[in-house]
Subunit: 202 residues, 2 copies
DNA sequence: GTAACTATATATAATCG
DNA sequence: TCGATTATATATAGTTA
């Protein structure tokens, strides 16, 4: 945005990521407040930093806005009426269920299924999304390929007698294609500072 | 903010309030998306316009963010003890949320994001999926296009009669009307604001 | 209603203290 | 690690078509 325009992708450097987060978060909340005031809109904004800190804002009451959101989204699916008690507190569940449906449909459409009834405009948008995806996938593929080739060359040059294999995911990627002989490119690049408090399934 | 600085208070004029709402809403959602991407933050944003239209965005899953927010704030409030039913409901919620996470990841990868760490094999699979999707989307697009053209031609033929090659005394409203009519079967219009969902109140 | 088009106001990345 | 500064990139109020 300044001095130099930045690309919108995850900032690698942890420090500058935190600085940017702090600045932009303030800006975002300010914009939200302004929109609410100027246009009489009801707004809820929830932000979790990557370290798990919570920031939130609501023009009225967080619960109220969420409840309203819940009511609108609930109408889109047939929820089996759980119990009167539950109805009040299952907003997250209802929303999640609806989200699964939405995302499932979107996935199918990206795969070229369930396209009937879509307008030309929507089809064009899909096409654009797919074009973008394929271009980035191809780019990444070349990068990975180059990296593997380089690693292979290094290995041949220095040491010819070492084989290393690490059980990664349960995916049996032994059946790789020709160029993929030494699967050196599957290191799990995980995050560093995530005191994530999200719940896990048992 | 431009031409002249405005005061942050409710805009009286209804028209300009709506225009401002539309512009600023887009800006706000864009900022939210950018913050999420740049800083790896989890964000939920809910906006109700003064007319009751809903717009929302969530970096991952709305239900998940709300649930996480609830958990954090729950500690501050005295909650009536969770009943057995609620616990069951939470696990259902957790399952749904996990599904949302999985589908979200897959969607992002199809869009060419979050590709790091994927093996060549997985990238090839993605590419194949995308190729298939785009081919079917293109096919459907041509079909829809042909259909609309055909409908248009039929309409013009019956309205104007046949072999009226040169007597172009017919007014343009016919063309306009038929054009609109042919697309009347299009699905309900959505607000094109990325992943925002909009609804109307009764 | 809306789709550009500016001229400015803001936001903010990089830098400095 | 911060706050302050500054040079640019963005956002957008007012306007026009």
């Amino acid at each position: 945005m300044v001095r130099q325009r930045i690309e919108i992708k995850k900032i690698d450097n942890v420090t500058s990521r935190q600085v940017t987060f702090s600045k932009r978060r303030r800006g975002l909340f300010k914009k939200a407040r302004e929109l609410s005031t100027l246009c009489d809109a009801e707004i809820a904004l929830i932000v979790f930093s990557s370290t798990g800190r919570l920031f939130d804002y609501s023009s009225s009451s967080m619960g109220q806005v969420i409840e309203r959101h819940n009511q609108q989204t609930e109408n889109l699916i047939q929820l089996n009426q759980p119990s009167l008690e539950l109805q009040l507190d299952n907003s997250a569940s209802a929303i999640a269920i609806k989200e699964v449906e939405e995302k499932t449909l979107e996935l199918r459409r990206l795969r070229g299924e369930e396209l009937h009834g879509l307008s030309l405009e929507e089809l064009k948008k899909l096409e654009k999304t797919l074009e973008g995806g394929i271009s980035r996938v191809l780019k990444t593929k070349s990068e990975v390929f180059e990296k593997e080739i380089a690693a292979l060359k290094r290995k041949m040059g220095s040491d010819i007698g070492q084989t290393q294999e690490q059980g990664q995911s349960s995916d049996q990627s032994i059946i790789t294609t020709t160029t993929n002989g030494s699967s050196a490119a599957a290191p799990p690049p995980r995050d560093y500072d995530s005191s994530d408090t999200s719940l896990k399934l048992g």
